[in-house]
Amino acid sequence: MGALKIREAQFEPVERKSMHDPAQPDYNDEVTNDQLEAIQARVAQELDSDEWEIVDGPAW
């Protein structure tokens, strides 16, 4: 029973305070589709200005 509890505990979400940089903001928020579209629109001119060839990936 004790071993079972230990095994379950290994899969609890981990936050290692000892390594956490207080100056680094959390990234707990999520990115919406609207945000993605907005940033893609911002860089569209840059991306359209050249021809691109994939040299690595896609990984999924």
Partner: protein, 149 residues
């Protein structure tokens, strides 16, 4: 030396280019200012890398990471155990939303490390997480084929 882009972007030299499945620090936009890079870096997973015709500049296809773990997002890559976090260079349990990818110039405006990091590449996906990703790819393909008419 960084290459100037047409939009005034400061491209990183190609010698600093990440590989697919590298984890990089990316300034994703936030709600308050969706048209500009976000105010702080967050870990993002590299899906693909592309070069321009002259091979002087690169763009990378990434998905963002969030520390908001969601048990019901079973088709996202969620890295939670200590060993994987260590090998990936992540400080917190992190979920990568595989549905939301974006192409961004490999430039300082979008890929900037926090103060104590020397570069924008944080680490590489560890073998266990790679296996998890492979399983997710199979599950995603199966789901997509079921949805097809």
């Amino acid at each position: 030396m960084a290459q100037p882009g047409k939009a005034g972007l400061s491209y990183y030299p190609l010698s600093t280019l990440p590989a697919s499945l590298d984890i990089v620090w990316c300034l994703f936009p936030i709600d308050e200012a969706p048209n500009t890079p976000g105010p702080y870096p967050r870990p993002s997973l590299v899906r693909a890398v592309a070069l321009n015709r002259d091979q002087t500049k690169a763009i990378v296809n990434i998905t963002y990471g969030t520390s908001r773990i969601k048990e019901n997002r079973t088709l996202d890559l969620q890295i939670q155990n200590c060993r994987s976090l260590d090998e990936c260079g992540l400080e917190k349990a992190t979920r990568f939303d595989l549905d939301k990818t974006i192409w961004l110039p490999w430039a300082k405006e979008f890929f900037r490390p926090p103060a104590r990091y020397s570069g924008p590449i944080l680490g590489h996906l560890d073998p266990q997480s790679c296996m998890q990703l492979e399983a997710l790819k199979v599950a995603r393909r199966a789901l997509a084929s079921r949805k097809r008419p």
